[in-house]
Amino acid sequence: MSKVIVVTSGKGGVGKTTTVANIGTGLALLNKKVVLLDADIGLRNLDVVMGLENRIVYDLVDVVEGICKLRQALIRDKRFEELYLLPAAQTKEKTAVTPEQMKELCDKLKQDFDYILIDCPAGIEHGFKNAVAGADNAIIVTTPEVAAVRDADRIIGLLEASELPGPKLVINRLRSDMVKKGDMMDIEDMIEILAIELLGVVPEDEKIVISTNKGEPAISDPASKAGQAFRNISRRIEGEDVPLMNLEVENSFMERLKIFFGLKR
């Protein structure tokens, strides 16, 4: 049974593309056939994050318009045999594709792949409707910010209306040190408002910036905490029961010394 999962958030800059790149790679690591579909026509990023920009010849709009075959537009990943990217067009607009065409495309991809991950553009307009049209599952990405949670809530409402039930939540860029001090929303606050199932929590991690710029998803870096979180999320998507990882920041030697002498709790 192949699954079409749309990754969406409403607000921009919360990490949709990073999430798609990492979960996609994570599922490929679990020996699944995966295709990443960039639905952000006109503002494509996924190819850059995957480090595949220089391989693009044909794109999504070319496929839909029948200029090339689907097979010709699919780009194989550098690292994984069974991971493919279908890039968005950069020179067209969102309206170049209709929701019906997207649905048709997803149905075609379903025949060859286990997972189709759709990178949804920010916003709730045409691009969002396109991205959602062919999906049968949704992952909502949010960061622990009031504005991001508000937009996620709006998106969940819209998904309900378009009959895409049971979206799952990924909380991105959580800083446990700030949560501890009460400066950041904690996981419970967000779950209480959004009231959907939690798929995973990804801690803030500098390595993400580095890996994104290099075009190598952080998930393949064993030292990256965010990478670990994305590995767990991929396993959960595959149906495994993986507990939430410990997000506590390890104390430095001096801090441990202070705790030892009772100067700090």
Binding site: R150, D153, R154, G157, E160, E192, I193
Partner: protein, 212 residues
């Protein structure tokens, strides 16, 4: 396109390739321009085809059918899976209560002539406007406007009353800025004198209403 059919359950209106409520309204006007009075009082079933509507859009349709054409909407269905939307036969706007059996999320809006009961939360960015009272069986975090047509005896109650903004009749109040004490018991908002007051909700609601 609008297709009309007479069935034993009433008039069936079938919508095909209609993109928005406004378009529906226009098409309806075209069809009914001459025979408006003929269909008054008729029961109506609307078949939306594959079109999906939100709660507020459904309400809008009910309003159009009932207020503009004086017909009774008995059911809204989608043609591939029937989605029943049952309505009371008698229409007495002031007393009618609208039930929402889900959480209202940001961007969703209920506008109802009568009371509104919400079995779920009202999240920030969502709005509930009623000419009567508003009851939230959950957390009210969004905007609520009770007594919207000027009834200053209207009330708003919620299991947890934490609204962004609260309006009763023509009075507006908002949450104080900064950190606020949030009680963990049900509360009621009502007008006393010139202002909106928030009190713990007890069962003798009638008494606190009389005290206005």
């Amino acid at each position: 396109m609008l297709i009309l059919k007479g069935t034993k359950d009433g008039l069936l209106i079938i919508l095909r390739n209609i993109e928005s409520i406004t378009e529906f309204e226009e098409k309806l006007k075209e069809k009914f321009s001459k025979s408006k009075d003929f269909f008054a009082g008729a029961d109506v079933i609307i078949d939306l085809g594959e079109m999906q509507l939100s709660v507020e859009e459904k309400q809008k349709i009910i309003e159009i059918i009932e207020k503009d054409y004086f017909m009774n909407l008995t059911e809204i269905r989608n043609y591939n899976h029937s989605q029943k939307f049952l309505r009371k036969e008698t229409i007495t706007p002031a007393a009618e209560t609208f039930f929402v059996k889900k959480t209202l999320r940001s961007g969703q809006k209920i506008n109802h002539d009568g009371n509104v009961v919400i079995l779920g939360d009202v999240n920030p960015g969502a709005e509930v406007i009623a000419t009567g009272d508003i009851f939230v069986f959950g957390v009210l975090r969004g905007i609520a406007h009770a007594g919207a047509s000027g009834d200053n005896k209207a009330i708003v109650t919620a299991f947890r009353l934490q609204p962004t903004q609260l309006r009763i009749a023509d009075k507006i109040s908002r949450a104080p800025d900064g950190m606020v004490f949030t009680p963990s018991f049900p509360e009621v908002a009502l007008i006393k004198g010139e202002r909106i007051y928030i009190e713990p909700y007890f069962c003798n609601l009638e008494k606190s209403k009389e005290g206005i």
